[in-house]
């Protein structure tokens, strides 16, 4: 059963997902940029897989190509679910 797509839930799943992919938890914030966190295109594909598993929301490469911060990724997921 997919988890409810609230901003809080999405933030938790994305933060946990990024930690799983190798990001340090204490570097994470909504404002942190993907570049500073060394999150690259391969990480985003893996993150998209985690998001889809959890919320049933599909993120394609085109959806995230202009995303700069973690907060923007979270907002994008919430927006696409709505």
């Amino acid at each position: 059963m997919a988890t409810d797509v609230t901003t809080d839930n999405v933030e938790k799943v994305i933060f946990d997902g990024l930690v799983e992919l190798g990001t340090e938890r204490d570097e994470l914030s909504r404002e942190a940029t993907l570049e500073d966190l060394d999150v690259d295109s391969l990480d985003l594909v893996e993150l998209a897989q985690i998001v889809e598993d959890e919320f049933g929301v599909e993120l394609r490469g085109d959806d995230v190509k202009d995303v700069k911060t973690v907060g923007q990724v979270i907002d994008l997921v919430v927006e696409k679910a709505g």
């Binding site: 990001t23 391969l42 893996e46 897989q49 889809e52």
Partner: protein, 399 residues
């Protein structure tokens, strides 16, 4: 003027421990890293060396290659790893027999259990046979010729041979080269057992009458090869020289060696000719010595054919008696063991050898290590690697 190829750094991850030193010292002491029928690198934890992200993005064989390369590069270029050459003049050729089988089997299981959406986007870059060369190149900023070599159990020597050719041809000043393998997995273990290639007893005893197959091992060996004049000019420590390389194919059978070892003998002769040496110049042989009934017999015949009477006068030992068969990493790890054995002027033993078999009558160095005797000058060795598919690759080393 002929360009010569020297070895200025070595690094290893083997069942005898992490590092080239435990490999040579423990093997020379007659120790064996095989437990419960496998030569696993039980001391190796990738997170001791790699970030979580690097570890996630590399299969176990690549992780081992990265760590072995780190050791070799630090020894050759210094702890900072700053390249002494134009990065486009430093290549990276790393062999594997199979590639990222751990990753392939994990992702295959996900596909079957949960469908295509469960398969990791990293699956292909994890399992591809050139993953180790790609990772070592990226980590060390090597931008010269970089690729993987895949030729089963001959792959390590093919990589070293190719690397030496790249330098001799003038295409690079240095090449980081070697091999890595980590395929002690469900499929590979079952497959080797099904073809009765692996030992039912779980004991690796090359050239012994009781041998009953090879023991699967895992690990990596990486060397820094360098053009001799350039290495000397920058004051690098020269550990040894790669004098010659010879490679042939049996064109006989998919898995079995040609019983008379004709093409294997030819590869040995070609390696010696390439080194401009004769059989009488060889002081030690690091045998392929898999512990399979067929290989150890055909290899013995090949050594006698290629080296003539000299074969009976020199020590011949198999590293696989101490670590098992590292498949595509074997040639590279054994090249390191050979150079270090020559430097110590000591032939490590074929661990566990006790019972002679008719026709297998060379000096396989039973019991304990023995001196390699030939005056005080540099010693010369050949190191053999033969692989499924009938691939034969032989290198000639001096130290």
């Amino acid at each position: 003027m002929t360009r010569r190829v020297v070895i200025t750094g070595v690094g290893a991850v083997t069942p005898l421990g992490v590092g080239a030193t435990p490999l040579i010292e423990r093997w020379s002491a007659g120790e064996c890293g095989i437990e419960d029928g496998f030569g696993r690198c039980l001391d190796f934890d990738p997170l001791d060396f790699l970030s979580k992200k690097e570890a996630r993005r590399s299969d176990r064989f690549t992780q081992m290659a990265i760590v072995a390369a780190e050791e070799a590069v630090a020894q050759s270029f210094g702890e900072e790893g700053e390249l002494p050459y134009d990065p486009y003049r430093v290549g990276c050729v790393i062999a594997t027999g199979i590639g990222g089988l751990v990753s392939l089997e994990r992702e295959q299981a996900k596909l079957i259990e949960s469908g295509p959406k469960a398969v990791s986007p990293l699956a292909v870059p994890l399992m591809m046979g050139n993953a180790a060369s790609a990772a070592v190149s990226m980590r060390n900023g090597l931008q010269g010729q970089t690729y993987g070599v895949v030729s089963a159990c001959a792959a390590g020597n093919h990589a070293l041979g190719d690397a030496s050719r790249i330098i001799r041809a003038g295409d690079a000043d240095a090449v980081v080269t070697g091999g890595a393998e980590a395929c002690i997995t469900g499929v590979a273990t079952a497959a080797f057992a099904a073809m009765e290639a692996t030992s039912a007893s779980g004991v690796s005893r090359p050239f012994d009458a009781r041998r009953d197959g090879f023991v699967m091992g895992e690990g990596a060996g990486v060397l820094v090869l360098e053009e001799k004049g350039a290495a000397e000019a920058r004051g690098a420590q020269i550990l040894g020289e790669l004098l010659g390389y010879g490679a042939t194919a049996d064109a006989f059978h998919l898995t079995a060696p040609q019983p008379e070892g004709t093409a294997a003998a030819k590869a040995i002769s070609l390696a010696l000719a390439d080194a401009d040496l004769a059989a009488v110049d060889v002081d030690y042989v690091n045998a392929h010595g898999t512990s399979t009934p067929l290989n150890d017999r055909s290899e013995t015949i090949a050594l006698k054919a290629a080296l003539g009477e000299r074969a009976a006068d020199i020590p011949v030992s198999s590293t696989k008696s101490a670590i098992g068969h590292l498949l595509g990493a074997a040639g590279a790890v054994e090249a390191i063991a050979t150079v270090e054995a020559l430097r110590r002027r000591t032939a490590p033993p074929t661990v566990g050898w006790e019972e002679a078999e008719e026709g297998l009558d060379l000096d396989y160095v039973p019991g304990s290590a023995k001196p390699i005797e030939n005056g005080d000058g540099p010693l010369v060795a050949i190191s053999n690697s033969f692989g499924f598919g009938g691939h034969n690759a032989v290198i000639c080393l001096a130290a």
